[in-house]
Symmetry: C2
Subunit: 318 residues, 2 copies
Amino acid sequence: MNKLAFLPLALIAASPAPVPSPNEIVAAAKAEDWVAIAPADLLVMDLAADRDAKPRRVVIQLMPAPFSQGWVGNIRKLAAAQWWDGTSVNRVQDNYVVQWGDVTEKKPLLDGLAVVPESAYSISLVSPEMIALSTKDVGSGVSTIIELMAKLSKVKRSSKPDQYAPKSIFVRGWPVAADPNNTWPVHCYGMVGVGRNMPPDTGTGAELYTVIGHAPRHLDRNIALVGRVIAGVEHLSSLPRGTGDLGFYKTAEERVPILSVRTGDKVTVLPTYEYLSTESASFAAYADARANRRDAFFIRPAGGADICNIPVPVRVGK
Amino acid sequence: MNKLAFLPLALIAASPAPVPSPNEIVAAAKAEDWVAIAPADLLVMDLAADRDAKPRRVVIQLMPAPFSQGWVGNIRKLAAAQWWDGTSVNRVQDNYVVQWGDVTEKKPLLDGLAVVPESAYSISLVSPEMIALSTKDVGSGVSTIIELMAKLSKVKRSSKPDQYAPKSIFVRGWPVAADPNNTWPVHCYGMVGVGRNMPPDTGTGAELYTVIGHAPRHLDRNIALVGRVIAGVEHLSSLPRGTGDLGFYKTAEERVPILSVRTGDKVTVLPTYEYLSTESASFAAYADARANRRDAFFIRPAGGADICNIPVPVRVGK
């Protein structure tokens, strides 16, 4: 507990300079701590211009292996086929999600989309994807996912389990959870997932949503997560809320037309986006500062932070 | 772990009907489980109409004793003096807060506002307020706040501590955290707090904000919480994001004028708002269902929920 607040004013004035804020730590990170995101791993969604004729571009980073690759593969195919062009944003539910795709649910899908099983919501330690990851980067000798995670991660996180999983941790730029046998991505603000009908349907990837409120972690392992919004989330989060059930827009006029969705390698003018390596010392310092704010505004560090309160920093490359 | 997803389809069809969803539990709650909120405990903020000439009303429930009563008292005085009329919404930062008040910071405050100490961010077990509460409702014999909380609450919550406090629990309609000696309200979506300058300033209550993103729990015990938005949060959360530092609007045109702020007893036409008693069996069932979704859409209950993922239900009275 920080006692600073209880010191007389004269002592405060004489006390050491406050430690840097999380943003200051990120701003001071070395160039090599930033990882460029390949344009092919971006999904660029252009919405119709707003009422002031301002363009609205949303940029999504697709999730890397070993997570959700069946759905991500479908999404790449749908983008290549320009399937979303002419569809719309159809649902905006406050403190929950924005959802987009074909509101008629009748537009023919592509041939050859993968049907992904529910088991792919998480990745087991003995899955081929995880064995490949483990062998390549960690070597042999890990017997649990948590052990693997610990070897992959350099971020010392609170040993407290969160309310949803025995372990939550950052691996290669992504917030993930784990139990001894499985690992899965988690629903933080801005994460993008695959809409689906009732189970055992798992969705194709044609209907997508993003989180615009408090992390709905109860959706973890119940819906596929495929990426996260890294730019332009305000074009979704500030849309008028729908007044129909579940926040669906009631009228066609309310829906926001989607002009085009392309992977980044098909977009002519696009900056380079970079994320702060979650394996860097800078990220470790940032995560610690998020959990223990000691910059001048704060009088009492929390002593912890849930994984969704440590958003992975993303910037436009310099 | 729910194994339903791995059963053959024929067995799924024969399985029992799914249990009710959290919303269905709330809809089925008995009339006596709902607690009417006194109009005098509401703060009604009318913003200028939107571009389509639609009115925008935001209704805030002020926090009851023993929490933050110094600031709440100031807010009542400011509302009675119509102090906010003609001020504006000045800051909208995505996934964080919307803030309103006097953007010039030069409007004279009222005489006689309380200057509240930082110690009032939390309430100790030996404070007069807590002794009064404890004596009235629990009787003597509790030696820690957590014990008191346990007696006050009927909701069985996961015994896992959250990342921010040894205990988080619902008391009299509000999400609060506690350690053995203190209790304090927590920053969930929609909670309303008091903007302040650098410590030891604690703010007067004239500058307010609400949370429009993932719970910024690191602000707990660093800023005063005084209430929560119970209606019309979408008029704040869907505002365009500010493009200045910290999401402040850069121009006067972007700011949203505040027409008036009154306590509910001074508003002519206002429905009765009710919250679901957090001491009711209905709330206990709702909270359990939020933590363990077993309704038809879900294949895997989470087994827990963080306190901000269990929003206290509020409705317009019937």
